[in-house]
Amino acid sequence: MSDRAYKRSWKNLLLNKQYQLRFTLFLVGVAALLMGLLGWWAIKVAQEATTVAKSAIRAKQCNPDAVAVAPSPGAAVAAPPVVAPPPVAPAAGGPAGPDPTTPPAVAGGVGDAPVAPADPTAGTEEPHRHVVIEQSSMTMVTPPPVAPAPVSAGQSACEQQIVSDLAAADARFRHIILVLVISGVVLVIGLTLMGIKMTHRVAGPLHKVGLYLAKLERGHYDKVYDLRKGDQLVEFYEHFKHAHAGVVALEREDVAQLRAALAAAEASPAASRPEVAAAITALRETLARKEASLVG
């Protein structure tokens, strides 16, 4: 393959692995280190900011409206309002409700034995089973579960807003991490490709000079072609071209001198002497080699 046919291609991007990879790895390493350290700092700050934001959201107070409505299922599931349950009381209109005239209902007690009054804060703890014993008939009745206190529409919306704000704060934190990770990966890949491509513009001319040097070593003085567009080391390559031309000029001078000297020596009576004849024969071979090396 001639030097002129050599074109940029992804296959031969790594012409000088040691030089190219060293610079590319340095570039990528610096970028990755910066990205890692600053990214870790950014994540730490984002975590703190999220904590502050969530605290501020939780600190919001929802004021109930006057209009009482049934609680929405979403709000009840996501953020159950803390409602102090009333003491165990007869259910209004219940079919088996205790008679108001009867003595206070007892929990877990039978007959006239003294019993402790129902705990008014029982609703906030583990739910207890309450039974009412009707003394007249000695039947045990289980009252229906205590209904939660009515929640206003405004309060429900406010609670929903709080829940969604908390979720948004978490999502924003996750989004920051995701963006940082993706940016880091893209940066590393992009810089690797850019580094290899950039160093290739230095390694390319060196590779080309190396090919010409190998020819010089073998004694072939081919024509030196220009670099490709975009290559670096243009000045260095010009130096090489001048050096190559300088060596070719030396060879041409030798050829001219040898031609003249050999012509004169062969025509001279001294040519009959064996040492002169041997020297002439050796120089004829030298001249032939030099002439051959300059062809092309």
């Binding site: 970028a31 990214g39 700092w41 920051i176 190396g210 003249a260 004169a264 020596a265 001294a270 020297a279």
Partner: protein, 237 residues
Amino acid sequence: MSVDPSKPTERGVPAAVVVTDGKVPGDVPPRGDSGKRPSSRRDRRLANYLLDKRLQLRYVLLVTIVSAIIAATLGYLIYDLEHGASDKLRAGLAELAGTDASLVEYGDEFAADIAGRDRALVFQMIAIGLGITVILSGYLVAMTHKVAGPLYKVGIYLEQMAEGRLGPTTPLRKGDMLQDFYVQFQEAHGAVRARLHADTEAMATLVEAWTVELGSPDAAARAALAAHVEARRRALA
């Protein structure tokens, strides 16, 4: 009289190497008079590090710009997050304070403290950015010098070759890059030099064997060849 350290003396012992200005003779080949010479010792040191400004500064600028972009983007993100959190804290405290004078005063102090921390963060990031830039630039100049150095040295030999001079070459310094390329150059340079040397000696053999009488027609041709041999010997010395 200058002595070529690469050539052994008559007794077969290599000649003594004289170290001048911290350099072994031939470490960096002498440049022609056309080359720019630094004016002072300090300039010379700086010039020695920036041998190929275009090549070296390109890398320095690339790495510095990439680092600056990363630092600026993430720095802004950090500042934005920190500032946003500070605003939320200030707002929360103001809401909590309401009309309570003592709490309002405390809130003002707290806000001033937070603002101070935010400013300190900005200065901290600017200082880190500048520090990174200076350290990276210095390191990269030194790193690229290990590439520019061999290219500079080869460039000087190439200049000499262009002038028809093919003297001996010396190896690169320890730690220099492009060692493979330099060895390739040395081999080619050595091969050309050896070939020209052998050809010169073959011509010298003819000159010695070809004895002519003064005034004979061959005398001019022999004299021309002898002069050529001398010139070539000087070029290869």
